[in-house]
């Protein structure tokens, strides 16, 4: 273990180097680009022995990743926003073909209007693709999540792709102190890749076939079973991760929730700000807690239910919007708990979620006037 000060993009690149993928097809897009650049340099310097494919689009990045995975190697790709949307079609194919690809998405708003800044609309919009989704709060979590992602995705009980979601700029371009594990530690946690089914001239197999109504539902059901099973696999991986690296993770993180009268639910980098506000509010005598959703797919509904159903009021912060319905995390939370839940749309297109806004959310949850509120909206500009 070495202490470093890195951006999350650099942290991700270090994790990828340690995970040793053999094929890395990537296409540049802000704010993911520096991940591709670090990896290109690692390959150029011989520090990462991988075939680096400079594809002509994100669609081809994920297609080449899926082809390479089908040919039996560990792969990595990274993208953001429009790039992830361009990958959309193949994301579903990757899950359906049970390909344990790991992809990092630098969360960024979707056009239009064109924005390079952060929200989580891009990955949230891929929630039904069959990929696991882990959201990182900081650079350390981003690095660790990549290693955990490979471990879980490649587990024979899972065999599903996994997306690690890191907030654009707030994480991708912000330096933070973190611990970079050694290769020896990572090798203990993440064994070398042993593909389950692959293109082999000695044992020919057809992968990605055409399926009529007699078999399609079963294939989709198998994904659902694997997704549910991945909760146990994640728990086991988190436990071993803690033993080797000393950092503990769960599908959710509870922060000062035990006696909380109001629990904020959120994902990603904003959780850092929320924790600070909670500390201040606690000093002021307010019983507020945070339930951080670290793994959004599979949705940790048992843990969510258990934490939220203590008669508390719940404020869900969404950096996304399902138009006509409200935030997606809000809808998901509301579907899985009987608690009193309010939704707050905030931080779209890079709008800061300040400590004042978090306080406003707490106030509005105490005295609700509407089920869904937009926070930080400039009403005069609408």
């Amino acid at each position: 273990m070495v202490k470093k000060v890195f951006t999350s993009n650099r942290a991700v690149a270090e994790a990828v180097k340690l995970a040793k993928p053999q094929v890395v097809p990537v296409y540049p897009i802000t704010p993911q680009t520096t991940i591709s650049e670090y990896l290109a340099q690692f390959v150029a310097d011989g520090d990462l022995k991988a075939e680096y494919i400079r594809v002509e689009s994100e669609h081809s990045a994920i297609s080449a990743a899926l082809g390479a995975s089908g040919a039996g190697v560990r792969v990595f790709s990274a993208t953001s926003s429009q790039g992830l949307a361009l990958m959309h079609e193949i994301l579903f194919a990757a899950a359906g073909m049970r390909s344990p690809i790991v992809l990092v998405d630098a969360n960024r708003a979707l056009s239009a209007p064109l924005s390079i800044w952060n929200d989580q609309q891009d990955t949230i919009s891929e929630r039904d693709s069959g990929w696991l989704q882990i959201y990182a709060e900081n650079a350390q979590e981003a690095l660790d999540a990549v290693l955990i992602a490979y471990r879980v995705a490649e587990d024979r009980d899972v065999l599903l792709p996994c997306m690690v979601c890191i907030d654009g700029y707030f994480l991708t371009h912000t330096v933070e102190p973190l611990e970079v594990p050694t290769q020896e530690e990572v090798d203990r946690f993440l064994p070398s890749y042993n593909p389950y089914a692959f293109l082999d001239t000695e044992n020919p197999m057809s992968i990605g076939t055409f399926t009529d109504p007699n078999y399609y539902m079963e294939a989709r059901y198998a994904i659902e079973v694997a997704m549910e099973k991945s909760k146990e696999v994640l728990a086991k991986a988190n436990k071993e991760f803690a033993e080797i690296f000393g950092r503990e993770y769960d599908l959710v993180e509870k922060y000062r929730c035990d006696d909380a009268e109001i629990i904020i639910v959120a994902m990603g980098s904003v959780c850092g700000t929320i924790k600070d506000v909670i500390d201040s509010l606690r000093e002021e005598g307010e019983k507020v807690g945070l339930l951080k959703i670290r793994v959004f797919r599979p949705f940790p509904r048992e843990q969510i239910k258990e934490v939220l159903e203590n008669g508390s009021k719940v404020a869900v912060i969404d950096k996304n919007i399902s138009f006509g319905m409200g935030g997606v995390l809000y809808s998901n939370i509301k579907a899985k708990t009987n608690a009193d839940v309010y939704g707050f749309i905030a931080g779209l297109g890079g709008r800061d979620i300040t400590t004042e806004y978090v306080r406003e959310i707490v106030e509005k949850t105490k005295n609700p006037s509407r089920e869904i509120e937009w926070i930080g909206l400039k009403k005069e500009e609408v």
């Binding site: 053999q22 094929v23 097809p25 022995k49 991988a50 075939e51 494919i53 400079r54 594809v55 002509e56 689009s57 669609h59 081809s60 297609s63 080449a64 990743a65 899926l66 082809g67 390479a68 995975s69 089908g70 040919a71 039996g72 190697v73 792969v75 079609e89 193949i90 194919a93 073909m97 293109l199 082999d200 001239t201 044992n203 020919p204 197999m205 057809s206 992968i207 990605g208 076939t209 055409f210 399926t211 009529d212 078999y215």
Partner: protein, 287 residues
């Protein structure tokens, strides 16, 4: 030429009787042999050969989507390379998957120089979805989206010239071929295999359903295309262009056009226009 009797595409698949695409794949795989990994674009070939839980492929095969066969093949090729495996990667895509929706991925793969063979099986329309016009549909052909009618004689644009677009990428080996000239095609596949780098073969193949002719006439139609100069067999090796087959005496285009339902609506003037276009191209190629 001795053509291997070994088959790597099993019978019993779901192709129409008289399918030209499967003849092309069988010939290509005879030339490539067992140590080959195939990639298919979505399309007739993929659908007819892999109705789960069956497969006609006796070599490893992968399909992902319509427009990305070249990108998937790029990933397969690099993954094999990274494992020190020397299997030949071959991608099969139709004319829609090549000339239209897959052109970007193909351009990228060819320009990056992957060691793979890309074979476009060109039946000149979207046959899998029911004969819609593609960029490779020839002038005058009636398709379900370029139908002839009171104010239309069918497709009003010439066929997109994909082999020349590939040649412009500096691909070391580019060839056109026809399933009706198996020796010429097999030789070209073998050359493509021997080359270290990308190779592109544009394989013309009649389609009984889309072109409208009796299934027993597939090979004959393919020959007529070449013998009339409507399809020219050539190769471009490291930029060096050769015509690989010259008909002893070029037949009139009408023989080819009138044998197919898709051209039956054309009047004499329209057919003469096509003859003139063919003459101009053949003069250029000294055919």
């Amino acid at each position: 030429m001795e053509i291997s009797e070994k088959e790597f595409l099993a019978p019993g698949h779901r192709a129409c009787a008289g399918c030209g695409a499967t003849i092309g794949v069988r010939l290509a795989l005879k030339a490539l042999g067992k140590n080959t990994v195939a990639v298919s674009a979505t399309g007739c070939l993929e659908v007819i050969t892999t109705p789960y839980p069956e497969t006609a492929w006796d070599i490893p095969w992968i399909h992902v989507a319509f427009e990305n066969a070249a990108a998937v093949a790029s990933g397969v090729e690099r993954a094999l390379k990274s494992q020190g495996k020397d299997a030949q990667v071959v991608a099969f895509a139709g004319d829609g998957g090549t000339a239209d929706i897959g052109l970007q991925a193909l351009s990228g793969a060819m320009e990056r120089g992957h060691n793979l063979i890309y074979i476009c099986y060109d039946n000149e329309a979207y046959m899998n979805t029911g004969v819609q016009r593609s960029g490779a549909t020839p002038y005058g052909a009636s398709t379900t989206t370029s139908p002839h009618g009171k104010e239309s004689f069918g497709e009003d644009k010439p066929k997109k010239n994909i082999p020349m677009i590939m040649a412009a990428h500096g691909v070391p080996y580019v060839a056109t071929a026809s399933i009706s000239y198996p020796e010429d095609f097999i030789k070209k596949v073998q050359k493509a295999k021997d080359i270290d780098g990308p190779a592109y073969i544009h394989l013309h193949q009649p389609c009984t359903t889309g072109w409208g002719y009796d299934p027993s006439k597939t090979i004959e139609l393919g020959r007529l295309a070449v013998e009339t100069g409507s399809w020219i067999l050539y190769e471009i090796e490291d930029g060096d262009f050769h015509v690989t087959y010259r008909p002893a005496e070029r037949k009139v285009v009408d023989e080819y056009l009138l044998a197919q339902k898709r051209f039956k609506h054309l009047n004499e003037e329209e057919r003469n226009r096509i003859q003139k276009n063919v003459d101009a191209i053949c003069t250029e190629f000294k055919i």
